[in-house]
């Protein structure tokens, strides 16, 4: 019997507490490249993956902090676009991600005849974060509970179980999928739909809406067909 089915799926919430990564700030493209070679894995993860959970209004023109800085401070849109299209969740390891970023930076450095600088007071600050995990009152015992409780889950819960889980779990899958996989074959189409969500390019609000939509659709159809609960 699995851990989930023994005790049900206890939904967690999370928040971040941020700290400096111990790497000197970068003022230009060359410094960014040098610092990225040595920054901790957690720092790379933070600037690529934890950006979605921070308070901001700006609609993400670019999907990670390096791309954002390249676009807004170095004013290098070519570099920003190349960095932005990188999907860290397609990399098998942080080393692979780091190498891909470095390749892009080196390529860009070789293309430009002068080093691009950020304005005064707009240096890139290297950060990392601790994920603080909280209990919630939400517990899922059967797949239908997932459909019912999704609207009640916070953005922190969605981030923790659907995104952050991929870093935490052995198979790099989200917690919802891991849990649903232990049920009858009837939920397999839902699992497949979840796996097709291109979440990296969504805000947490958009991701939550997408999860609610696909889950609602699945259970509406399933009820018609086999009355899955």
């Amino acid at each position: 019997m699995s851990e989930y089915n023994d005790m049900g799926f206890k939904v967690k919430d999370c928040s971040l507490i941020t700290r400096m990564a111990g790497v000197k700030e970068a003022m230009n493209l060359r410094e960014l490249e040098e610092r990225l070679r040595v920054c901790p894995d957690e720092c790379l993860f933070h600037h690529f993956c934890e950006t979605v959970i921070r308070p901001t209004f700006d609609y993400p023109d670019y999907t990670n902090d390096f791309a954002l800085w390249a676009g807004s401070q170095l004013r290098d849109k070519i570099l920003a676009e190349r960095l932005s299209v990188l999907n860290p969740y397609k990399c098998k390891s942080v080393d692979e991600l780091r190498q891909q970023v470095l390749d892009i930076l080196e390529e860009r450095l070789s293309e430009t005849d002068h080093i691009l600088w950020a304005p005064k007071n707009r240096a890139f600050q290297f950060l990392q974060a601790v994920t603080v995990v909280f209990e919630t009152d939400i517990k899922l015992n059967r797949p239908y509970d997932f459909y019912e409780q999704l609207p009640n889950m916070s953005h922190g819960s969605i981030y923790y179980h659907f995104i952050e889980a991929r870093r935490r779990t052995k198979w790099m899958v989200d917690d919802f999928t891991a849990w649903l996989s232990e049920f009858e074959l009837e939920v397999k189409p839902l699992i497949k739909t979840l796996s097709e969500i291109d979440f990296y390019f969504l805000t947490l609000a958009e991701l939550k809406n997408t999860l609610v939509a696909v889950t609602t659709e699945f259970f509406k159809e399933a009820k018609h067909e086999k009355n899955i609960n």
Partner: protein
């Protein structure tokens, strides 16, 4: 209103309270001593005023101690403050002696409490020397820097660095303010207390009476900047922006400054502001005593637009306060104001008096935009800058120092 979790729950909700309880569970009984340099005036005192009772209710043994000093000590710490913010200051041996002698005098009184505490939180530079003066400390010492120290005067920073480098951790309000130190540096933005006199709901009568007391017309647009009379807050720039309106919309400007016992420069700046106002009857310059929280609250609530045109700013709690009261903020493009004011969402960031005048005109011309931005601003504060988030992060940091700083920290 009393600072109890049940009273806060009405505003921040049960989930936020549950998170606080979870993270505090493993800290029950821990002794925490906060030390700063004033009980009244300034953002730090306001934070400690709510943080101490809440920490106590969550089961921690929290204390607030204040450094006592004379004018020479406060002049020196003001030099530290200005120097950390990048001002060209001169730090003499005599000043350092005055500072160290004063802190040493306080250490005689505080040493037993500080050495025995599980956590000591030193706020800003004023009490930092205490660390060296408590050789038998058993707990973790945290330096909390509330100041924008991104480009400090080197002499001031080199001296202070030698005093804070051996702490166990430090906290800065923004990554840009942090400095390389030999310990973990955390980023925790400050917050406001929705139950404080400065932020609690007020009756229309109280707001009206306040305006009447200062001869401010409630029927004309009110532009308001609340802050100490300090050059970094650019009150002269605000008057320039107001003059650029050329009487449009028949607006009034209120510049209201609360004094703090550790700020000897206030009177000189107030004089400069009076000269710049040049007797204009539409400019109200109010020097408020440090306990004028409800007056400030009323002035913010009565305002049409709140301005915080700082040239340099730690975080800018007056911005947070105004946003909590559904006011659009026109803020200087600096420091923590950039975290809070997002163009077209919660207000506008400006770099010049001309920029401020432009945004004021735009907003006064579009009252529906004022109310839309104001509503968004309040929601943004509710989500990110209320005291529960701030306290949770302090507790998390303490828990992290106790358990070890891994990638994940399970609360409770």
């Amino acid at each position: 209103m009393k600072k109890t979790l049940i009273n806060y729950e009405k505003i921040i909700g049960p989930v936020a309270i549950s998170k606080l309880r979870q993270v505090a569970r493993d800290l029950k009984g821990a002794s925490v001593v906060h030390v700063n340099s004033t009980r009244e005036g300034g953002g730090v005192a306001e934070i400690l005023f709510w943080m101490i009772p809440l920490m106590k209710e969550l089961g921690l043994d929290a204390l607030w101690e204040v450094i006592e000093g004379n004018a020479e000590y406060f002049n020196t710490t003001k030099t530290f403050h200005n120097g950390l913010q990048g001002n060209d200051v001169i730090l003499t041996d005599r000043m350092i002696r005055a500072y160290e002698d004063t802190v040493a005098g306080n250490a005689e009184r505080l040493r037993p409490i500080l050495q025995d505490a599980d956590f000591v939180v030193i706020h800003d530079p004023q009490p930092a020397f205490l660390h060296e003066l408590c050789p038998d400390k058993r707990g973790q010492w945290i330096w909390r820097c509330h100041i924008d120290a991104s480009r400090p005067n080197r002499a001031v920073w080199n001296y202070l660095r030698s005093k804070v480098n051996n702490f166990n951790a430090s906290i800065f309000s923004m990554p840009d303010f942090a400095h390389k130190l030999d310990h973990p540096q955390f980023i925790i933005a400050p917050s406001i207390d929705p139950l404080s006199d400065k932020n609690i709901e007020l009756s229309d009568k109280e707001i009206k009476d306040t305006l009447q007391n200062f001869n401010i017309d409630p029927n004309r647009p009110i532009l308001c900047q609340i802050s100490r009379f300090d050059r970094f807050k650019d009150p002269i720039g605000v008057i320039k922006a107001f003059n650029l309106l050329n009487g449009a919309f028949n607006a009034q400007l209120v510049l209201a400054g609360g004094g703090a016992t550790d700020d000897p420069e206030g009177a000189a700046v107030l004089e400069e502001v009076n000269q710049a106002a040049n007797g204009n009857k539409n400019i109200h310059i109010l020097m408020l005593p440090p306990d004028s929280h409800r007056v400030i609250n009323a002035l913010q609530r009565a305002s049409t637009i709140v301005i915080q045109k700082s040239l340099q700013e730690g975080f800018g709690l007056t911005v947070t306060e105004a946003m909590w009261k559904c006011k659009p903020v026109i803020g200087g493009n600096t420091g923590g104001i950039r975290l809070q004011v997002h163009n077209h969402h919660t207000g506008f960031l400006v770099d010049t008096p001309e920029g401020a005048a432009l945004r004021i005109r735009k907003l006064l011309y579009q009252p529906d935009v004022i109310s839309k931005i104001g509503q968004t601003a309040k929601e943004f504060v509710q989500e990110n800058y209320l005291c529960n988030r701030h306290l949770r992060e302090y507790l998390t940091l303490m828990l992290g120092l106790r358990k070890g700083l891994a990638n994940h920290l399970i609360a409770g």
